[in-house]
């Protein structure tokens, strides 16, 4: 296996204010260019796991590293910036700032990530290019995000995650708001982009049918334990 983009080892996290509940992830790794589907029902700790990976919350024990940097060693501000540099995030839905234009939304992560902005080159041109590649209509960049259909919004979210080529894309059920046809088309576009740029993809879903397109499918129960300890 080639160099890992994301590794979690012996990670333990306790929810604050909910004594006794704890999430443990003994070992999880995603290699460069690898696509991984993480299957899990709601309440299985996915959201917490994603927050841990993104450094939005810190583990009580263990190590989370992204692209070779242990993120829990970074200060809060540096961690936020590191996230902006290294990770593209796609949510389930309502990904965009509805009052901003499509370009505003796509360029938003670059605002917080100088290195990624440099990688993106002429950012606006890059954004327009991505929109075209993702099959969005021409001139969509200056439109209000709220004017777009849900499927178009999700594609804008992909463009935003891809701009500046971060090594890791995290997608949290990005297709759940789409119908079956749109789902397939959406995944086609997503995979085409991640494969071109050797980007790692970690997607969370409850739908096992998506599994055949991924390099690896992991059940969240196999790697993460929710424990109710006595303490």
């Amino acid at each position: 296996m080639s160099e890992a983009v994301l590794t979690l080892s012996n990670v333990g996290y306790r929810w604050p204010g909910r004594a006794g509940f704890a999430l443990t992830v003994p070992d999880l790794a995603v290699a460069l260019g690898e696509s991984v589907l993480l299957l899990g029902e709601s309440g299985s700790g996915k959201s917490t796991l994603l927050s841990l990976i993104c450094g939005a919350i810190l583990p009580d024990s263990g190590v989370v590293s992204i692209a070779g940097t242990e993120i829990s060693s970074l200060s809060g501000g540096a961690r936020d910036r590191y996230r902006a540099e290294q990770i593209g995030v796609i949510f389930q839905q309502f990904n965009l700032l509805p009052f901003g234009t499509v370009s505003d939304n796509i360029l938003l992560p670059l605002r917080f990530a100088p290195a990624r902005r440099k990688r993106a080159g002429v950012a606006l041109a890059e954004a327009t290019q991505l929109c075209a590649t993702l099959g969005l209509p021409e001139g969509v960049g200056s439109e209000k995000a709220s004017a777009l259909s849900v499927g178009q919004q999700q594609r804008v979210a992909v463009a935003r995650a891809l701009i500046g080529h971060p090594p890791l894309i995290i997608a949290d059920e990005p297709t759940s708001a789409l119908d079956a046809n749109s789902q397939a088309a959406f995944l086609d576009l997503l995979f085409a982009q991640t494969q071109t740029h050797q980007t790692s993809l970690l997607m969370v879903s409850h739908d096992p049918r998506l599994g055949e397109r991924f390099d690896r499918v992991i059940n969240i129960e196999d790697i993460a334990k929710i424990a109710r300890s006595a303490s």
Binding site: S51, R83, V89, L97, F99, L107, L108
Partner: protein, 416 residues
């Protein structure tokens, strides 16, 4: 970009943001308006009498002398004898002197006996003279010129006949000697508006048949005879004095105060006006304090608006966080939002003030005699606007800190 997005976010909530901005604008306009009226009232008050260097009367207090001689409030305890008046008039440093004789009334208005020199020397609002708007100044002993408020309140016009009452609140009237209204004065915004002005001789004339404040029974000297009599008064109530050179004012004041024949008092009108303002100005300060509280209320309203928007904007915050925004950036954006709202509100308030002034200025001037100048915003007004913006920023810190804590706790995943 963040700034633009913050503005776009505000625009997306036009209605609530607009209402908040409007509330701030109205409160700022009210505050600045009250301040404007306060300053206008203060300068109008200070401009009640100008061009007069000294006011001379019997010895009492300076505010008391000012009150009865200029504002026609209260009455003199003693008079200024005609001999003393002549002595002062004869001094070389006195350029002009105008006698004032008070004590009678017409309905609720005071009657003032003076000479036509009063119209020449009594000045208000930076040297304006009192002018006749209808008719002419008095020509005959039994002519009177009335102030604008008197004419309006009692519906008098030129050539109407009026009867003066003896004393200030009495039922005995000088029925035998009615006056003819020869002229009505322009509105000045000074106590002159509420004064019935007659000649100094007229005051003597109506008291010919009177002794010790009562009419002598059965005696009624015909008007023709009165006209022929020597109507030089024994005493006057006060006198307005102008000096040859301003440098002589204090020397003259001292000379009059040390006058050995009679206990007299000479006051500088400006100083006495200031002293009086110190008393009546408290009410204005209270008004200002109330309007300041209205501004505070509007800012707290803004805080409430931001608070209530936080829940529906959790998603927005999560997106910013996921894109790498630090919680401090979220906090900064909310404060920025508040500053923009407060600044637009304050500037809009200033605009409202000017629009209001442009509309109200002539009305306020003619109704209340209060002159509200339309000028560039003063330093003080600029400070008020800056203070509103600053206070807006401080007030918004409360919801912004809550958003900060929320965005730290939520991380970037918001359960939808």
């Amino acid at each position: 970009m963040i700034f633009r997005l913050a503005i776009a976010s505000l625009l997306a909530r036009t209605l609530t943001v607009g209402m908040t901005v409007l509330a701030i604008a109205l409160s700022v306009a009210l505050f600045l308006g009250v301040e404007k009226v306060r300053n206008g009232a203060k300068s109008s008050f200070a401009d009640t009498i100008s061009g007069t260097d000294l006011i001379v009367g019997a010895r009492s207090g300076s505010v008391q002398l000012l009150l009865y001689s200029v504002f026609r409030i209260g009455s003199a305890t003693n008079n200024l004898s005609w001999e003393s008046y002549q002595d002062i008039a004869a001094r070389p440093d006195v350029e002009w002197i105008v006698p004032i004789s008070l004590g009678d009334s017409h309905r609720q208005f005071r009657v003032m006996g003076t000479t036509t020199a009063f119209f020449e020397h009594y000045k208000y609002r930076q040297g304006r003279s009192v002018k006749v708007s209808e008719g002419a100044l008095m020509d005959d002993v039994f002519d009177t010129v009335i102030g604008a408020d008197v004419a309006a309140a009692l519906v008098y016009s030129v050539d109407d006949s009026i009867v003066v009452a003896h004393g200030l609140a009495s039922f005995t009237e000088h029925k035998d000697q009615p006056f003819r209204v020869s002229g009505i004065l322009e509105k000045t915004g000074t106590p002159v508006d509420r004064t019935v002005i007659v000649s100094l001789e007229a005051i003597e004339a109506i008291h010919v048949d009177w002794q010790s404040g009562a009419q002598l029974p059965g005696k009624a000297t015909p008007l023709d005879v009165i006209r022929e009599m020597d109507l030089t008064p024994q005493a006057v109530t006060a006198a307005l004095v102008g000096v040859e050179s301003p440098l002589q004012t204090f020397a003259l004041q001292r000379a009059i105060n040390d006058y050995s024949e009679e206990p007299l008092l000479a006051i500088l009108p400006g100083v006495a006006l200031q002293e009086l303002w110190g008393i009546v100005g408290i009410a204005e300060t209270a008004l200002l304090a109330v309007s300041a509280m209205v501004v505070v209320t509007a800012l707290i309203g803004m805080m409430a608006t931001i608070f209530s928007s936080l829940n529906e904007r959790r998603r927005e915050m999560a997106i910013y966080r996921a894109m790498g925004a630090r919680p401090v950036t979220i906090l900064g954006m909310l404060v920025l939002e508040a500053v923009v709202m407060a600044a637009i509100g304050a500037l809009l308030g200033l605009a409202f003030l000017y629009i209001g002034l442009a509309i109200a200025q002539p009305i306020v001037d003619s109704t209340f005699g209060l002159w509200l100048p339309i000028e560039m915003p003063s330093m003080q007004e600029v400070w008020v606007i800056l203070a509103v913006v600053g206070a807006g920023a401080i007030v918004s810190l409360v919801p912004a800190l809550r958003a900060y804590r929320m965005s730290v706790a939520d991380g970037m995943m918001v359960k939808t």
